[in-house]
Symmetry: C2
Subunit: 214 residues, 2 copies
DNA sequence: GTCTATAGACGGATAGAC
DNA sequence: GTCTATCCGTCTATAGAC
């Protein structure tokens, strides 16, 4: 097997490197989820993959680079979830159903991993901000979100801002005051109904929001 | 002056202590607002009041005790703001107006001081959680909030949870994505209208929500 | 690539003189 | 009460041998 090694050269070496990088990031996720994002240290990450801290610098330039990679990881996972929700919706699903499915997923996504939630959505790491390149992946995710919302008939910037605020509020309260529970999670249908009614009442011009019952 | 020193004893000494404690906390607020909450160190606080770090231990048991005191400070300030908003409302103000005034104040309160926002509403300090005594002051503040909401006809737990989620969402998005601006702040009236319409539509039983125009 | 050793900085907290 | 001196821990990052 592997006839591909002609001329191309170090492809197997690169694959090995990529594997190790992946293992480092996985270990970092596990540690962050377990002991908290702010307790994440290079020493612990290295130990988790059977290394010493300095060896990590063969794979990442700095701790910030690791956090960047985790950040990209996290938004990729969110992308996948949005795609999955989109795929699970029947073609004629109502805006209400689409929105409720999205918010449900979103809150679940945050509850699944508090460390990931804090990394992606709050500025929880003291000295770190996502690099421009990493930040780009969050913008990509935002575009994918907008696509999904467009499928529910929501295209205006103001409406999108309102959806993100509703989601952020439910998530923040749920995570802060009832981490494992459903005190705000179970209000999703309520909130979506409230929002959709509001849209219908204030729809100007000919913008058409599909009816819930066609 | 000061005839009061008979028998009572060390009242002037205690007053001096309280003054110094106050100065320490004020310095801590200034540093946190300037350099960020997580950069707050005992050395810097002490230097700001013309001391060295160990001297602070004459006034506070630990750094956690200082954070606790700041936490209480912050909720006291929020209490004052809620009281001020309540006092500024004419007796016959509509629920819509009352809610809008509250949310406006709330967002402004958070925008006034990012460090305070992070201390009170997010778990931004790595090793610290508010002590039970300090936490009590946040519960007091919550009760005061409930009082205010009751004045707007909102008394059911589910409705209160919805209000806090709406507020938390607007605040979180505003602070994270447009810190100094008004991208979400200016949506307060919209959100309040949405919420009030929702309440009216779903009011069960004889619960009476005052009309906006009597 | 991985290691040991260490630099260099920062943090909270304590001992003990004054 | 305040100080100096110091302990002890944390961390990221680098130098240089192997």
């Amino acid at each position: 097997m592997s006839v591909v090694s002609l001329g191309a050269g170090p492809s197997r070496v690169q694959a090995r490197r990529a594997q190790t990088r992946r293992a480092v990031l996985d270990a970092a996720w596990a540690l962050a989820s377990g002991s908290g994002l702010e307790a994440l240290s290079l020493r612990d990450i290295a130990a988790s993959v059977g290394m010493r801290a300095p060896s990590l610098y063969s794979y990442f330039d700095s701790k910030a680079a690791i956090l960047d990679a985790l950040f990209v990881d996290g938004y990729r996972a969110l992308d996948d979830q949005i795609a999955a929700v989109a795929a699970s919706q029947p073609a004629k699903a109502s805006p209400t159903r689409r929105l409720a499915a999205l918010l449900q997923m979103w809150i679940g996504f945050c509850q699944d991993d508090q460390a990931r939630y804090r990394l992606l959505f709050t500025n929880a790491v003291p000295g770190w901000v996502a690099s421009a390149e990493a930040y780009q992946s969050s913008l990509d995710s935002y575009l994918r979100l907008c696509d999904y919302l467009a499928g529910a008939g929501i295209t205006e910037a103001d409406d999108i801002d309102l959806v993100t605020a509703l989601a952020a509020g439910l998530v923040a309260q749920q995570m802060a005051n009832d981490p494992g529970g459903d005190r705000w999670l179970r209000r999703v249908d309520d909130v979506v109904d409230m929002f959709v009614q509001h849209l219908r009442a204030h729809r100007k011009r000919a913008t058409h929001l599909p009816e819930d019952r066609p």
